[in-house]
Symmetry: C2
Subunit: 362 residues, 2 copies
């Protein structure tokens, strides 16, 4: 490394990122799935471009502000988030003038809000009907409700019915055990699509996926599009969950040991304002991240700018002033805390890249 | 409100902020305590100025980048954080050319790093010796160790021994029950200062405090300076902990209900990327924030951009498209997620203010 950024900073290994993108592209090719990566994970135009170069069909975003940023990279954007505010819908309609804009919705209210904005801007927005496949966060609750909304979209000027949308975010079990749960998702989608077909409604897109389930998407043959986010980096959640190998984790926070005053403990300059506070989903007691070079160290406590490591089990504990690398539990909120990240090329050079869509919360 | 910002956004009530500042100023006056507010809470130059106008003696920061920002407001800065990196120490020494810069340290390593930077910049930095009073995060472990470091600073060119530093962050019990714990803190400080005095070492500053303990600082008569941060806003933590009233909470996230598809549940557009993931310290099961207008609603789950409210106990649940206000559990990481916040004046007008030191992580 010729540059030596001040800690804490986020370091992303370009080689691992490219390998992760390639792995998904090959899987998607094999099962004829369109990949529409969720860019909330990285919020970076440059990384979104890499995803498109690796074959992504379009991009997914959580917020309109993110859509505005990612429209620099693709002209096919899916807002995987309801829009129920007239002003916000207007912003989105503006974007639809020069892009294919699709939105996942679960209410008549959202449909009417979007339609009014689209008509007022003399444009058209695509709509996918969000159906709850088990997470119980958003999504219509029955096959019948999904048809009611699909038919409403189908006959509403300014909107185009693009298909069906689901998020199996509740499927957080090891890949070999996902079968039964994904079978249920498949059954529900099959039933829904059949019901729609009986009423002459077709779903061009059937969109699903998340990183834990993305390589098991063939167990839900109704899907023709997946929207994983984390897969580009992976993190302790995907690794401990059994969805990737440790060497597939591309992003690490680099921190410095700033205090060793308390016996058996080492304090690093990365707390919740750097690593984010998320516990590991599969192993909540495993601490706030993983140190590959100090596997016996456990980040037992985070405050805002301090990470407290229990190093009593370490044969060699990191020393005062030493730099350590931590794979975060959940990379998405971690990236969201950075203004920039450092990209490492295969030759070891590193350069800072902006987190373009950070702070685009509306 | 003439302006209607898109949600989610953070709204700060100027009247409540001013009242909170006034309350602390009066307490500090009564007990002759210097107030050095921790600006990590708001990261705002304008709010820091209000604190100085309310009588603050100087400002506290967590990071050198924050110190650089806050040097626009005061010329007396305390970095309540160890510095163990030579390059970082150089940055701080540069700041010391035109400001009084003080640093809390707990190691010989940090002292030597700071001294080298100070000498190289032909300046002087003040040092406070950090002693662990029970949190077990940083701080020397014994009275003897504190004297060793104090004497080292005292004889080191480039450094000035400013005094003793502690952070009683472990004292998180109701005010009426703080006596015994704060008594222990007092005993340790008394013993330390006595030991120093026996060796001819004086502590001009004895710095302590945190928001939960700040109005009980008179129970630790050794202190002559306190460094509360959260008190300017308060939050669910300080309210549920019994350290303020609900009406003393100055900051609220304004969010919109974006989905009501799942029965008994309302989804708002504020998740961990807006509210932060911190649980309430006093009542971890109380949910991810508090809605004053919907006290029966409980934010049971946050994902990145969704907040799931259980509204089954509500007589009137918020409706799709409606805006709601949430007092965050922990305002510091919440503010750190915003690029700006909205300041409400007494006449109801609101205006956006920048979070100047956000992202200054190094």
């Amino acid at each position: 490394m010729s540059v030596r950024p001040a800690t804490p900073f986020l370091l992303v290994d370009g080689l691992v990122v490219r390998r992760n993108l390639q792995r998904l592209a090959e899987y998607a090719d094999e099962f004829e799935l369109a990949v529409r990566p969720h860019t909330k994970t990285h919020k970076s135009e440059i990384l979104a471009k890499l995803q498109v170069e690796a074959g992504a069909y379009g991009l997914t975003v959580a917020k309109i502000g993110e859509a505005e940023v990612m429209s620099h990279v693709t002209d096919d954007l899916l807002l995987a988030y309801p829009v129920v505010d007239a002003e916000q819908a207007k912003r989105l309609a503006k974007l639809a003038a020069h892009n294919t804009v699709r939105v996942a919705v679960d209410s008549r209210f959202a449909i009417e809000t979007l339609a009014a904005a689209a008509r007022s801007a003399s444009t058209t927005m695509g709509v996918l009907i969000d159906i709850d496949v088990g997470l119980h966060r958003t999504g219509v609750q029955t096959v019948g409700q999904s048809l009611v909304l699909a038919e409403l979209v189908d006959r509403t000027a300014g909107l185009r019915l693009d298909g069906l949308f689901c998020y199996p975010g509740h499927v957080w079990v090891m890949p070999e055990a996902q079968g039964p749960l994904l079978g249920e998702v498949s059954d529900l989608l099959y039933e829904t699509l059949g019901h729609w077909a009986e009423h002459g409604i077709e779903a061009a897109i059937v969109s699903g996926g998340s990183t834990p389930t993305c390589f098991q998407s063939h167990l839900v043959p109704e899907l023709n599009e997946i929207r994983p986010g984390t897969y580009i980096f992976n993190d302790v959640n995907t690794w401990r969950g059994g969805f990737c190998r440790l060497e597939d984790c591309a992003a690490r926070v680099v921190a410095t040991v700033v205090s060793t005053a308390v016996p058996g403990q080492v304090v690093i300059d990365a707390g919740t304002k750097t690593l984010a506070a998320d516990a590991c989903v599969a192993l909540p007691q495993s601490g706030h991240g993983y140190l590959p070079s100090f596997p016996e160290a456990r980040i037992v406590k985070l405050s805002e700018e301090h990470g407290q490591l229990d190093v009593r089990e370490c044969r060699h504990a990191p020393q005062l002033g030493e730099r350590v690398e931590i794979i975060p539990n959940h990379i998405c909120p971690c990236m969201n805390l950075q203004d920039r990240f450092w990209w490492k090329e295969e030759d070891g050079r590193i350069e800072p890249l902006p987190v373009d869509a950070r702070g685009k919360v509306t």
